[in-house]
Symmetry: C2
Subunit: 189 residues, 2 copies
Protein backbone atom coordinates (compact mmCIF):
# COMPACT_ATOMS: atom_id res chain seq x y z
CA UNK A 1 0.00 0.00 0.00
CA UNK A 2 1.79 3.13 -1.22
CA UNK A 3 1.31 6.66 0.07
CA UNK A 4 -0.62 7.64 -3.07
CA UNK A 5 -2.90 4.64 -2.78
CA UNK A 6 -3.84 5.40 0.80
CA UNK A 7 -4.44 9.05 -0.06
CA UNK A 8 -6.77 7.87 -2.84
CA UNK A 9 -8.62 5.61 -0.43
CA UNK A 10 -8.90 8.41 2.15
CA UNK A 11 -10.27 10.90 -0.34
CA UNK A 12 -12.43 8.32 -2.06
CA UNK A 13 -13.96 7.36 1.26
CA UNK A 14 -14.63 10.99 2.17
CA UNK A 15 -16.33 11.63 -1.17
CA UNK A 16 -18.37 8.45 -1.08
CA UNK A 17 -19.61 9.23 2.40
CA UNK A 18 -20.47 12.76 1.39
CA UNK A 19 -21.91 12.33 -2.10
CA UNK A 20 -22.42 8.61 -2.66
CA UNK A 21 -20.66 6.30 -5.11
CA UNK A 22 -22.11 8.00 -8.15
CA UNK A 23 -21.43 11.46 -6.77
CA UNK A 24 -17.73 11.72 -7.48
CA UNK A 25 -15.38 11.05 -10.36
CA UNK A 26 -11.73 10.31 -10.99
CA UNK A 27 -11.43 13.95 -12.03
CA UNK A 28 -12.39 15.00 -8.48
CA UNK A 29 -9.75 12.71 -7.03
CA UNK A 30 -7.12 13.85 -9.52
CA UNK A 31 -7.71 17.53 -8.79
CA UNK A 32 -7.45 17.11 -5.05
CA UNK A 33 -4.53 14.65 -4.97
CA UNK A 34 -2.56 16.49 -7.61
CA UNK A 35 -2.07 13.72 -10.16
CA UNK A 36 -3.77 12.90 -13.46
CA UNK A 37 -6.81 10.70 -13.98
CA UNK A 38 -4.74 8.15 -15.88
CA UNK A 39 -2.46 7.73 -12.88
CA UNK A 40 -5.42 6.80 -10.72
CA UNK A 41 -6.38 4.09 -13.17
CA UNK A 42 -2.92 2.65 -12.61
CA UNK A 43 -3.74 2.12 -8.91
CA UNK A 44 -7.41 1.27 -9.33
CA UNK A 45 -8.16 0.15 -12.91
CA UNK A 46 -11.90 0.72 -12.60
CA UNK A 47 -14.01 2.87 -10.34
CA UNK A 48 -15.58 -0.28 -8.95
CA UNK A 49 -12.12 -1.48 -7.91
CA UNK A 50 -11.65 1.74 -5.97
CA UNK A 51 -15.13 1.54 -4.47
CA UNK A 52 -14.56 -2.02 -3.36
CA UNK A 53 -11.18 -1.17 -1.82
CA UNK A 54 -12.70 1.76 0.07
CA UNK A 55 -15.60 -0.32 1.31
CA UNK A 56 -13.34 -3.20 2.30
CA UNK A 57 -11.03 -1.00 4.31
CA UNK A 58 -13.97 0.85 5.85
CA UNK A 59 -15.68 -2.37 6.96
CA UNK A 60 -12.44 -3.62 8.50
CA UNK A 61 -11.89 -0.36 10.36
CA UNK A 62 -15.48 -0.29 11.58
CA UNK A 63 -15.22 -3.85 12.93
CA UNK A 64 -11.95 -2.86 14.57
CA UNK A 65 -13.48 0.21 16.23
CA UNK A 66 -16.34 -1.89 17.56
CA UNK A 67 -13.89 -4.43 19.00
CA UNK A 68 -11.97 -1.62 20.68
CA UNK A 69 -15.18 -0.21 22.13
CA UNK A 70 -15.95 -3.64 23.55
CA UNK A 71 -12.64 -4.02 25.26
CA UNK A 72 -12.59 -0.45 26.55
CA UNK A 73 -16.06 -0.73 28.10
CA UNK A 74 -16.79 -2.12 31.53
CA UNK A 75 -20.45 -2.83 30.70
CA UNK A 76 -22.62 -3.54 27.68
CA UNK A 77 -24.40 -0.25 28.26
CA UNK A 78 -21.13 1.63 28.05
CA UNK A 79 -20.25 -0.17 24.85
CA UNK A 80 -23.55 0.83 23.24
CA UNK A 81 -23.03 4.43 24.32
CA UNK A 82 -19.66 4.29 22.61
CA UNK A 83 -21.30 2.98 19.45
CA UNK A 84 -23.85 5.77 19.43
CA UNK A 85 -21.02 8.27 19.81
CA UNK A 86 -19.26 6.62 16.88
CA UNK A 87 -22.24 7.23 14.60
CA UNK A 88 -22.72 10.71 15.97
CA UNK A 89 -19.09 11.71 15.37
CA UNK A 90 -19.26 10.44 11.80
CA UNK A 91 -21.76 13.11 10.75
CA UNK A 92 -20.24 16.07 12.49
CA UNK A 93 -17.47 16.46 9.99
CA UNK A 94 -18.17 17.79 6.51
CA UNK A 95 -21.57 16.25 5.98
CA UNK A 96 -20.33 12.70 5.92
CA UNK A 97 -22.25 9.65 7.01
CA UNK A 98 -21.47 6.07 7.79
CA UNK A 99 -20.47 4.59 4.43
CA UNK A 100 -23.00 1.81 4.96
CA UNK A 101 -25.86 4.29 5.20
CA UNK A 102 -24.82 6.17 2.07
CA UNK A 103 -24.18 3.08 -0.03
CA UNK A 104 -27.54 1.58 0.91
CA UNK A 105 -29.21 4.34 -1.07
CA UNK A 106 -26.82 3.60 -3.94
CA UNK A 107 -27.60 -0.11 -3.92
CA UNK A 108 -28.93 -0.10 -7.46
CA UNK A 109 -25.87 1.71 -8.77
CA UNK A 110 -23.01 -0.34 -7.27
CA UNK A 111 -21.94 -3.72 -8.54
CA UNK A 112 -22.64 -7.12 -7.05
CA UNK A 113 -19.37 -7.45 -5.14
CA UNK A 114 -19.87 -4.15 -3.35
CA UNK A 115 -23.48 -4.99 -2.65
CA UNK A 116 -22.54 -8.24 -0.97
CA UNK A 117 -19.74 -6.64 1.01
CA UNK A 118 -22.16 -3.97 2.19
CA UNK A 119 -24.75 -6.52 3.27
CA UNK A 120 -22.05 -8.44 5.13
CA UNK A 121 -20.87 -5.31 6.94
CA UNK A 122 -24.41 -4.61 8.12
CA UNK A 123 -24.85 -8.19 9.28
CA UNK A 124 -21.56 -7.96 11.20
CA UNK A 125 -22.53 -4.71 12.88
CA UNK A 126 -25.96 -6.04 13.82
CA UNK A 127 -24.35 -9.17 15.24
CA UNK A 128 -21.96 -7.07 17.32
CA UNK A 129 -24.83 -4.97 18.69
CA UNK A 130 -26.70 -8.16 19.50
CA UNK A 131 -23.75 -9.53 21.48
CA UNK A 132 -23.41 -6.22 23.27
CA UNK A 133 -27.09 -6.25 24.20
CA UNK A 134 -26.66 -9.70 25.72
CA UNK A 135 -23.59 -8.57 27.63
CA UNK A 136 -25.52 -5.57 28.91
CA UNK A 137 -28.36 -7.75 30.06
CA UNK A 138 -26.03 -10.02 31.95
CA UNK A 139 -24.23 -7.17 33.69
CA UNK A 140 -27.58 -5.41 34.24
CA UNK A 141 -26.51 -2.22 32.45
CA UNK A 142 -29.19 -2.62 29.74
CA UNK A 143 -32.88 -2.94 30.43
CA UNK A 144 -34.15 -3.85 26.98
CA UNK A 145 -36.08 -7.10 26.69
CA UNK A 146 -37.29 -8.82 23.55
CA UNK A 147 -35.47 -10.84 20.92
CA UNK A 148 -31.89 -9.49 20.88
CA UNK A 149 -31.44 -10.19 17.17
CA UNK A 150 -34.47 -8.05 16.35
CA UNK A 151 -33.50 -5.36 18.87
CA UNK A 152 -30.04 -5.18 17.31
CA UNK A 153 -31.46 -4.63 13.81
CA UNK A 154 -33.83 -2.01 15.22
CA UNK A 155 -30.96 -0.13 16.85
CA UNK A 156 -28.85 -0.22 13.68
CA UNK A 157 -31.82 1.03 11.67
CA UNK A 158 -32.35 3.87 14.10
CA UNK A 159 -28.67 4.86 14.01
CA UNK A 160 -28.52 4.90 10.21
CA UNK A 161 -31.93 6.55 9.92
CA UNK A 162 -30.92 9.25 12.38
CA UNK A 163 -27.88 10.02 10.21
CA UNK A 164 -30.16 10.24 7.19
CA UNK A 165 -32.57 12.62 8.92
CA UNK A 166 -29.76 14.80 10.20
CA UNK A 167 -28.23 15.11 6.77
CA UNK A 168 -31.55 15.81 5.07
CA UNK A 169 -32.30 18.48 7.66
CA UNK A 170 -28.82 19.93 7.41
CA UNK A 171 -28.42 19.83 11.18
CA UNK A 172 -26.34 17.30 13.15
CA UNK A 173 -28.47 17.96 16.23
CA UNK A 174 -31.34 16.13 14.56
CA UNK A 175 -29.24 13.00 15.04
CA UNK A 176 -29.18 13.62 18.78
CA UNK A 177 -32.91 14.24 18.88
CA UNK A 178 -33.71 11.07 16.96
CA UNK A 179 -31.47 9.01 19.23
CA UNK A 180 -32.28 10.45 22.67
CA UNK A 181 -35.11 8.03 23.36
CA UNK A 182 -32.89 5.13 22.36
CA UNK A 183 -30.32 6.15 24.94
CA UNK A 184 -33.03 6.56 27.56
CA UNK A 185 -34.54 3.21 26.68
CA UNK A 186 -31.29 1.32 26.87
CA UNK A 187 -29.60 2.96 29.79
CA UNK A 188 -29.73 1.85 33.29
CA UNK A 189 -26.13 2.53 34.17
Amino acid sequence: MTETQSRLLDLGEALMRKRGFGGFSYADLAREIGIRKASIHHHFPTKSDLGMAVLDRYADQLADKLRKISSASRTGGQALDGTIKLYRDAIDHAGRMCLCSTLAADTEVIDRDMRERLAQANRDTAAWIQETLLTGRRDRSIAVGGDPALEAKAILAQLQGAQLLARAGGDPQIFDQAITTLVARLSRH
Copy 2:
Protein backbone atom coordinates in the same frame (compact mmCIF):
# COMPACT_ATOMS: atom_id res chain seq x y z
CA MET B 1 -51.32 18.68 -16.03
CA THR B 2 -51.31 16.68 -19.27
CA GLU B 3 -51.24 12.92 -19.58
CA THR B 4 -47.61 12.99 -20.68
CA GLN B 5 -46.60 15.17 -17.76
CA SER B 6 -48.16 12.87 -15.22
CA ARG B 7 -46.55 9.84 -16.86
CA LEU B 8 -43.23 11.64 -16.61
CA LEU B 9 -43.81 12.35 -12.94
CA ASP B 10 -44.84 8.74 -12.29
CA LEU B 11 -41.81 7.29 -13.98
CA GLY B 12 -39.50 9.95 -12.57
CA GLU B 13 -40.70 9.19 -9.08
CA ALA B 14 -40.24 5.45 -9.56
CA LEU B 15 -36.69 5.94 -10.83
CA MET B 16 -35.76 8.42 -8.11
CA ARG B 17 -37.01 6.08 -5.43
CA LYS B 18 -35.14 3.17 -6.95
CA ARG B 19 -31.85 4.75 -8.03
CA GLY B 20 -31.71 8.22 -6.52
CA PHE B 21 -31.76 11.59 -8.25
CA GLY B 22 -28.41 11.08 -9.93
CA GLY B 23 -29.26 7.53 -10.91
CA PHE B 24 -31.48 8.17 -13.90
CA SER B 25 -31.42 10.36 -17.01
CA TYR B 26 -33.81 11.89 -19.50
CA ALA B 27 -32.77 9.10 -21.84
CA ASP B 28 -34.24 6.55 -19.40
CA LEU B 29 -37.50 8.47 -19.27
CA ALA B 30 -37.60 8.92 -23.05
CA ARG B 31 -37.08 5.23 -23.72
CA GLU B 32 -39.81 4.12 -21.34
CA ILE B 33 -42.38 6.80 -22.21
CA GLY B 34 -41.79 6.57 -25.92
CA ILE B 35 -40.92 10.16 -26.74
CA ARG B 36 -37.62 11.95 -27.36
CA LYS B 37 -35.39 13.58 -24.79
CA ALA B 38 -36.03 17.02 -26.29
CA SER B 39 -39.75 16.59 -25.72
CA ILE B 40 -39.17 16.03 -22.03
CA HIS B 41 -37.28 19.30 -21.82
CA HIS B 42 -40.42 20.95 -23.16
CA HIS B 43 -42.35 19.79 -20.07
CA PHE B 44 -39.51 20.09 -17.56
CA PRO B 45 -36.78 22.42 -18.86
CA THR B 46 -34.14 21.13 -16.44
CA LYS B 47 -33.74 17.93 -14.51
CA SER B 48 -34.03 19.93 -11.30
CA ASP B 49 -37.45 21.17 -12.43
CA LEU B 50 -38.55 17.58 -12.84
CA GLY B 51 -37.03 16.55 -9.52
CA MET B 52 -38.75 19.38 -7.72
CA ALA B 53 -42.10 18.56 -9.34
CA VAL B 54 -41.76 14.90 -8.36
CA LEU B 55 -40.79 15.77 -4.80
CA ASP B 56 -43.58 18.31 -4.47
CA ARG B 57 -46.22 15.91 -5.64
CA TYR B 58 -44.77 13.12 -3.50
CA ALA B 59 -44.79 15.23 -0.35
CA ASP B 60 -48.40 16.27 -0.99
CA GLN B 61 -49.48 12.67 -1.55
CA LEU B 62 -47.64 11.50 1.55
CA ALA B 63 -49.31 14.15 3.71
CA ASP B 64 -52.62 13.14 2.18
CA LYS B 65 -52.09 9.46 2.95
CA LEU B 66 -51.22 10.29 6.54
CA ARG B 67 -54.38 12.36 6.89
CA LYS B 68 -56.43 9.48 5.50
CA ILE B 69 -54.79 7.07 7.94
CA SER B 70 -55.74 9.42 10.75
CA SER B 71 -59.37 9.61 9.80
CA ALA B 72 -59.64 5.88 9.09
CA SER B 73 -58.16 4.90 12.47
CA ARG B 74 -60.13 4.59 15.67
CA THR B 75 -57.03 4.95 17.86
CA GLY B 76 -53.57 6.49 17.69
CA GLY B 77 -52.09 3.01 17.86
CA GLN B 78 -54.03 1.96 14.79
CA ALA B 79 -52.86 5.06 12.95
CA LEU B 80 -49.22 4.27 13.72
CA ASP B 81 -49.71 0.69 12.55
CA GLY B 82 -51.07 2.10 9.32
CA THR B 83 -48.02 4.31 8.97
CA ILE B 84 -45.66 1.39 9.47
CA LYS B 85 -47.57 -0.53 6.82
CA LEU B 86 -47.20 2.47 4.50
CA TYR B 87 -43.42 2.37 4.79
CA ARG B 88 -43.39 -1.39 4.51
CA ASP B 89 -45.47 -1.42 1.34
CA ALA B 90 -43.21 1.15 -0.27
CA ILE B 91 -40.25 -1.21 -0.39
CA ASP B 92 -42.03 -4.34 -1.51
CA HIS B 93 -42.36 -3.18 -5.07
CA ALA B 94 -39.33 -3.06 -7.35
CA GLY B 95 -36.75 -2.02 -4.79
CA ARG B 96 -38.20 1.39 -4.18
CA MET B 97 -38.02 3.34 -0.97
CA CYS B 98 -39.69 6.36 0.48
CA LEU B 99 -38.47 9.25 -1.66
CA CYS B 100 -37.42 11.09 1.48
CA SER B 101 -35.06 8.29 2.49
CA THR B 102 -33.47 8.08 -0.94
CA LEU B 103 -33.06 11.82 -1.40
CA ALA B 104 -31.47 12.21 2.02
CA ALA B 105 -28.48 10.27 0.73
CA ASP B 106 -28.46 12.51 -2.34
CA THR B 107 -28.53 15.71 -0.29
CA GLU B 108 -25.21 16.93 -1.63
CA VAL B 109 -26.27 16.37 -5.23
CA ILE B 110 -29.70 18.05 -5.33
CA ASP B 111 -30.21 21.80 -5.44
CA ARG B 112 -31.24 24.11 -2.64
CA ASP B 113 -34.97 24.15 -3.44
CA MET B 114 -35.23 20.38 -3.34
CA ARG B 115 -33.18 20.24 -0.18
CA GLU B 116 -35.50 22.61 1.61
CA ARG B 117 -38.60 20.85 0.34
CA LEU B 118 -37.16 17.55 1.58
CA ALA B 119 -36.40 18.95 5.01
CA GLN B 120 -39.93 20.35 5.21
CA ALA B 121 -41.46 17.00 4.27
CA ASN B 122 -39.53 15.28 7.05
CA ARG B 123 -40.57 17.92 9.56
CA ASP B 124 -44.20 17.47 8.50
CA THR B 125 -44.06 13.71 8.84
CA ALA B 126 -42.38 13.93 12.25
CA ALA B 127 -45.04 16.41 13.38
CA TRP B 128 -47.79 14.06 12.23
CA ILE B 129 -46.23 11.14 14.12
CA GLN B 130 -45.95 13.33 17.19
CA GLU B 131 -49.64 14.23 17.04
CA THR B 132 -50.52 10.59 16.56
CA LEU B 133 -48.45 9.60 19.60
CA LEU B 134 -50.33 12.12 21.70
CA THR B 135 -53.65 10.84 20.39
CA GLY B 136 -52.60 7.29 21.21
CA ARG B 137 -51.62 8.25 24.70
CA ARG B 138 -54.96 9.92 25.32
CA ASP B 139 -56.95 6.95 24.02
CA ARG B 140 -54.57 4.56 25.83
CA SER B 141 -53.62 2.66 22.67
CA ILE B 142 -49.96 3.69 22.93
CA ALA B 143 -47.76 3.03 25.91
CA VAL B 144 -44.70 5.08 24.99
CA GLY B 145 -43.64 7.77 27.42
CA GLY B 146 -40.99 10.42 26.97
CA ASP B 147 -40.92 13.64 24.95
CA PRO B 148 -43.29 13.07 22.01
CA ALA B 149 -41.29 15.32 19.68
CA LEU B 150 -38.18 13.23 20.28
CA GLU B 151 -40.09 9.95 20.09
CA ALA B 152 -41.56 11.02 16.76
CA LYS B 153 -38.12 11.74 15.29
CA ALA B 154 -36.88 8.42 16.65
CA ILE B 155 -39.73 6.54 14.99
CA LEU B 156 -39.21 8.29 11.65
CA ALA B 157 -35.50 7.51 11.83
CA GLN B 158 -36.24 3.88 12.53
CA LEU B 159 -38.70 3.65 9.63
CA GLN B 160 -36.31 5.21 7.14
CA GLY B 161 -33.35 3.28 8.52
CA ALA B 162 -35.25 0.02 8.28
CA GLN B 163 -35.92 0.74 4.60
CA LEU B 164 -32.23 1.41 4.12
CA LEU B 165 -31.19 -1.83 5.81
CA ALA B 166 -33.75 -3.84 3.86
CA ARG B 167 -32.54 -2.43 0.56
CA ALA B 168 -28.88 -2.92 1.41
CA GLY B 169 -29.58 -6.51 2.40
CA GLY B 170 -31.75 -7.12 -0.65
CA ASP B 171 -34.52 -8.53 1.51
CA PRO B 172 -37.77 -6.73 2.43
CA GLN B 173 -38.13 -8.96 5.49
CA ILE B 174 -35.22 -7.11 7.07
CA PHE B 175 -37.59 -4.17 7.30
CA ASP B 176 -40.01 -6.25 9.35
CA GLN B 177 -37.23 -7.48 11.60
CA ALA B 178 -35.91 -3.98 12.23
CA ILE B 179 -39.40 -2.72 13.03
CA THR B 180 -40.83 -5.57 15.13
CA THR B 181 -39.61 -4.18 18.42
CA LEU B 182 -41.08 -0.80 17.54
CA VAL B 183 -44.49 -2.35 17.04
CA ALA B 184 -44.16 -4.26 20.31
CA ARG B 185 -43.04 -1.17 22.15
CA LEU B 186 -45.86 1.02 20.89
CA SER B 187 -48.74 -1.39 20.91
CA ARG B 188 -51.16 -1.86 23.65
CA HIS B 189 -54.28 -2.19 21.53
